[in-house]
């Protein structure tokens, strides 16, 4: 079966603090939870286990029980800034048709210009 091993996005040049300062309104995602992807259409949904509101370039309040929804190829096109703070994340296990393999992934701070955030408030 074809499987991934270590998948990562290479670092860019921007200072992550500067990326935050230049974001007037958005969501800062510190940790994603479980999710689901429709591999035929690329549509995905991910729960955010740790996320905050960004207002006028600053992190303000935490967001609870919200999720992100989007389309993989579209989100890749909507990345407008790439940070210089590359790091690998925690390793995990990826399952496919009953086969689990150890996988890793990593990325720098990335900003996506538009994505839908689901929840009940605001």
């Amino acid at each position: 079966m074809v499987r991934m091993t270590n998948t990562y996005v290479l670092a860019g040049t921007e200072d992550p603090d500067e990326i935050l300062r230049q974001t007037p309104y958005g969501v800062y995602v510190a940790q994603l939870g479980g999710g689901q992807v429709n591999t035929a259409t690329g549509d995905f949904v991910f729960g955010m286990t740790e996320a905050y509101l960004i207002e006028d370039g600053e992190i303000t309040e935490p967001l609870r029980d919200a999720n992100l929804i989007g389309n993989g190829p579209e989100v890749l096109r909507n990345i407008d800034v790439v940070g210089n703070d590359f790091a690998m994340g925690h390793p995990g296990t990826c399952g496919k048709q009953g086969q689990g393999v150890p996988v890793g992934d990593g990325q720098p701070t990335l900003r996506v210009t538009a994505m839908t955030v689901g929840g009940t408030a605001r």
Binding site: G33, G34, G35, Q36, N38, A40, T41, D43, F44, V45, F46, G47, R64, D65, A66, N67, I69, G70, N71, Q97, T116, V117, G118, G119, T120
Partner: protein, 456 residues
């Protein structure tokens, strides 16, 4: 010892279980759960078999309760020496367990066993090549139904035939067998650069129960009607859930009514028995004695006769689901809701056949009643998006907007959000279209008011 088992005959599961239970020593309780099954899973793609697995398994899970300690061990074999060793291991494991005054096996509780016929010889003897042929037929039927179907992502056949028996030194004697099978397809429709998907399935006990044309047309209709879908504007509106999505919601809801979750303080319904948690037209039952339910069963995993448990009646919370252990801890009696994932696991608690008592309206009448709203045909991210402790609910969804009581444009890439508590009190219509799924829940069309839709 091994001669005793040999004499009982390995072909009779109940005899074997009874023999093992008979080996209980003084001051000890012994339970033997014996299962033998065969299951087949076939996936075809592009006119060829992509994967085929057919597995036969047989094994025994033994629980020993010695004083206030419980031990469990299992083996994937019914060989007499292995069975004797497994009992010794369970005994040994009990010695390591923490003391817990609530451990104990089920005892006969006088509930009569439902008269159910859940076994079909024609499935047990159905040739593998015919199963493959039916999966291929389904793939062809989906492709041929509409020129906009670009491919069939997968077309599957699955079946299982399981025999099991439970016996205990406390007097339980239970034996049953069941067959089940399904066909399912996932269609990919396209126009230009756009791709949409939709699924269809059919379930039954015998191959002759399966409706291939319905599985194909459901998949084709759901994929093609999504073509041209846009991201909707954010709104608060009434959402109509298709039966299969309602079943997903009911499975989550039944998890919150699990007596084990209640005891651990992980249920949002703890201390709410007798309270109005939903509308008068909403009655929720877990009824494994319903022969049409996919997971219908004569006995629970501890050998108690299954029964119809009313969880919510007329909107009022009635009871939680318990196995013997959870019931003893809660100071009540088992609802015969012990479940196991085969012989390899000791019994937990769970629903088998949860369903809403159907209402009197067709889906079309519900659309008319709702007027303007949203029909949801698929949800995603349920496991991460629903918090069964707080009740917070936020999932990705796809569907069709309803305008003036009719289906209008398809919509995608949005989330719907509420809480389980608000959704229960927001039920505005219960459909008459009970649909069986290959799951522990059945569904009806269900309309719920005041749900947040986050899109554009």
């Amino acid at each position: 010892m091994s001669q005793t088992i040999g004499g009982a005959g390995q072909d009779n599961l109940l005899d074997l279980a009874t023999a093992v239970a008979g080996w209980a020593r003084d001051g000890e309780q012994v339970e033997a759960y014996v299962a033998r099954g065969r299951d087949t899973e076939i996936t075809v793609f592009g006119g060829e078999v992509e994967s085929l697995s057919s597995a036969e398994s047989a094994g025994i899970g033994i629980r020993v309760v010695a004083g206030s300690r419980q031990g469990f061990a299992y083996a994937g074999s019914l060989d007499p020496d292995v069975v004797a060793e497994t009992l010794e291991e369970a005994r040994d494991n009990a010695g390591f367990a923490s003391e817990d005054s609530f451990v104990g096996l089920a005892s006969p509780d006088g509930v009569e066993v439902a008269s159910l016929d859940l076994w079909r010889d024609d499935l047990a003897s159905y040739p593998t090549e015919v199963k493959v042929a039916r999966a291929l037929d389904l793939e062809r039927a989906v492709r041929a139904a509409d020129p906009r179907i670009r491919q069939v992502e997968s077309s599957d056949w699955g079946d299982a035939a399981v025999e099991s028996a439970v016996a205990t030194s406390t007097g339980i004697r239970a034996e049953s067998r069941r067959t089940a099978c399904y066909l399912s397809a996932f269609a990919v429709a396209g126009e230009g650069a756009e791709t949409q998907t939709g699924g269809g399935y059919s379930v039954g006990r015998s191959p002759s129960d399966l409706d291939l044309d319905k599985a194909a047309s459901d998949a084709v209709e759901r994929a093609t009607r999504m073509l041209g879908a846009v991201k909707p504007r954010s709104d608060r509106l009434t959402v109509v859930f298709e039966p299969r999505i309602t079943a997903t919601l009911l499975a989550i809801l039944s998890g919150t009514l699990d007596g084990e979750a209640v005891l651990k303080g992980r249920s949002l319904f703890a201390d709410r028995i007798g309270e109005q948690v939903s509308v008068a037209g909403f009655t929720l039952v877990d009824d494994p004695t319903d022969p049409e339910a996919y997971a219908a069963a004569h006995y629970d995993a501890e050998g108690l006769a299954t029964r119809r448990n009313v969880l919510i009646e007329g909107g009022v919370l009635q009871r939680f689901l318990y196995n013997t252990y959870a019931a003893r801890r809660a100071g009540t009696v088992s609802t015969a809701s012990a479940v196991r994932a085969g012989f390899k696991s000791a019994p937990g608690t769970g629903a088998r056949a949860v369903s809403v008592v159907p209402g009197d309206r067709s889906p079309e009448e519900i659309f008319q009643q709702v007027g303007d709203g949203l029909l949801v045909q698929s949800v995603s991210g349920v496991h991460s998006g629903v918090n069964p402790v707080s009740g917070d609910f936020s999932v990705g969804a796809e569907g069709v907007l309803i305008k003036g009581g009719e289906m209008a444009g398809p919509v995608r890439e949005f989330t719907i959000a509420s809480t389980i508590q608000r959704m229960l009190t927001g039920v505005v219509a219960v459909g008459n279209d009970l649909e069986r799924l290959p799951s522990s829940a059945s569904g009806v069309t269900l309309a719920i008011a005041d749900i947040s839709m986050s899109g554009e």
